[in-house]
């Protein structure tokens, strides 16, 4: 089942310079996919087509089978939740409780359901004790959790996160990682826009690499994240473990360089010890 597909998608803001060039992709339901590239590659512009904020200049975008050209942002957003990079751009409630309720109210959920969902979302993000406070009394990390709570509360099928780990410390990143795991477990389609290569290693199935408005490559994370030349092309730094494996291969100490995880590398190195 296809969650999102684009066919020959071109996009331009001013009608002359194309920011997205011939994007063809298919994202299956339940997939966890990372869209990666340096700042300015077009990643955010691309995902804004998935909830109708932007409509194609040429080509088409289909979300859950529906062509986005005929749909409003509101109707698409019911199924596609978008968590923007900066929490302060997306706080619309006077209290944290009202903030989490906001989308639920807009989508016309019944009162009892709203109450239940808000409670669940706040507990999940460990914000229950702050429910009556203003969002601005929270720390930056807490506000980020709030934006996640606001989107998860209305349970969209597809969740898009724009640079979820930017400016976050290790503990916060781990938390976000757990949320992604939870979403995968629930069968959600998760799309993460990021340039954080280390974060992506663990929770993602597939990786899409973008540069200059094009999709340069896409595939299984093991194929993409261990291909140093490819990462170099899109101006991303490789994750450390594949980088080490690649260097070891260069030195003739390793045959297989498509190594992603520490455990795999350790297994190989310990096998040398034997010899």
């Amino acid at each position: 089942m296809i969650a999102i597909e684009t066919n020959s998608l071109f996009f331009s803001y001013n009608g002359r310079d194309f920011v997205l060039k011939d994007i063809n992709l298919k994202i299956a339901k339940g997939e966890t996919i990372a869209i990666m590239g340096e700042n300015g590659a077009g990643k955010t512009t691309l995902v804004k087509h998935f909830n109708g904020l932007l409509k194609p200049t040429k080509g088409e975008v289909k979300v859950l089978g529906k062509n986005t050209k005929n749909e409003s942002v509101a109707s698409l957003s019911r199924h596609v939740g978008m968590i923007f990079q900066n929490p302060d751009h997306q706080l619309f409630g006077e209290t944290i409780e009202k903030e989490v309720e906001f989308a639920l109210r807009n989508f016309g959920f019944k009162e009892e359901i709203i109450e239940r969902r808000v409670k669940w979302a706040l507990e999940l993000m460990e914000l229950s004790e702050y429910r009556d406070k203003s969002p601005y009394t929270l720390s930056v990390g807490e506000r980020k959790r709030l934006t996640i709570a606001s989107v998860l509360a209305y349970d969209p099928d597809i969740v898009i996160m724009d640079e979820p780990t930017a400016g976050q410390d290790a503990i916060q990143k781990e938390k976000i990682s757990e949320i992604i795991s939870l979403l995968r477990h629930k069968g959600k389609t998760v799309i993460i826009v990021t340039h954080d290569v280390e974060f992506v290693v663990n929770r993602i199935d597939r990786v899409l690499l973008m540069a200059d408005g094009h999709i340069i490559a896409e595939g299984d994370k093991r194929d993409v994240l261990t291909n140093l030349e490819l990462l170099e092309k899109v101006r991303l730094l490789p994750p450390q473990i594949p980088h080490i494996a690649w260097l070891l291969k260069e030195e003739g100490l390793l045959n297989e360089h498509r190594v992603l995880y520490i455990d795999e590398l350790i297994k190989v190195i310990s096998s040398w010890k034997m010899s």
Binding site: A74, M82, F84, D88, H89, F92, A103
Partner: protein
């Protein structure tokens, strides 16, 4: 918003574009003085026509006419309101008021059409206005693209939460925009606090009168134009009190009522 067209700077190479913005401002002020001083129709018409000459020199006729078309509703209102409310010499007085407004608009549009916002900011900084105020203007200008981007992102976020901004009658829509404005204002207030902190860290505020290579310097052509403008303006202004205004300038239109 087409009437704003005449106030938007376009990059062109004309004598007026290259003139010091402060001199251009004086020119606009001089026109203001002339427009306000004369009540007679023909002098006002001459004043207005001379602004058109400057517009032609600045090769900005197209943008200027868009502005003049844009203020046409105002001109019509001014004419008819005066026509109704004034007791004596209705037609002449209404025409004068209309011409006055047209000249003022035209004069200032010369200024804005030939001056970049940055030059404007620089002019303020170089004109003896306290640094706190001129810098405020410069920074407001610099942050316009930033603000518009923030507005866009907040609107996007709002729409992504299922909120329909464009739905409903005019009253509902205005209320809807509060949902965009409140987070935007809060965001920008917090931004301004961060800016204040950064200004402090950059040593701002102690030295009141700064010495900088980045200030406007008057060149010969600027002084020349300034002197010429002042002489001409004073000469024309002094015609009436000196009794030197020719008869035809006092010509009036017939009053039908």
């Amino acid at each position: 918003m087409s009437f704003l067209e005449g106030f938007r700077f376009r990059r062109k190479n004309t004598p007026l574009h290259g003139l010091d913005p402060r001199v251009k401002f004086i020119i606009a002020i001089s026109y203001t003085a002339l427009s306000l001083y004369f009540i007679e129709i023909l002098p006002l018409l001459i004043t207005f026509t001379s602004t058109m000459v400057l517009i032609v020199i600045a090769r900005s006729l197209a943008e200027w006419s868009r502005t003049m078309r844009g203020i046409l509703p105002f001109l019509i209102i001014i004419f008819f309101v005066n026509l109704i409310s004034v007791s004596r010499e209705r037609v002449n007085y209404s025409l004068s008021m209309t011409l006055r407004f047209a000249s003022l608009t035209s004069a200032f549009s010369i200024f804005f059409l030939t001056t970049t916002p940055d030059e404007l900011a620089l002019a303020m900084e170089s004109s003896g206005i306290p640094r706190d105020y001129s810098l405020m203007f410069t920074m407001a200008l610099r942050f316009v693209p930033t603000l518009s981007r923030d507005l866009q992102i907040i609107t996007d976020a709002l729409k992504s939460k299922g909120f329909e901004l464009e739905k409903g009658n005019i009253v509902t829509r205005l209320r809807n925009y509060a949902y965009v404005l409140v987070p935007l204002i809060i965001y920008e207030i917090r931004r301004s606090l961060m800016i204040a902190e950064a200004l402090e860290a950059r040593g701002y505020g102690v030295v009141k009168k700064i010495d900088t290579p980045y200030k406007l310097k008057m060149r010969t052509k600027d002084w020349g134009t300034l002197v010429l403008t002042l002489i001409l303006t004073l000469a024309v202004l002094s015609l009436k009190p000196l009794g030197a205004l020719p008869q035809w300038a006092y010509l009036k239109l017939p009053e039908p009522f």
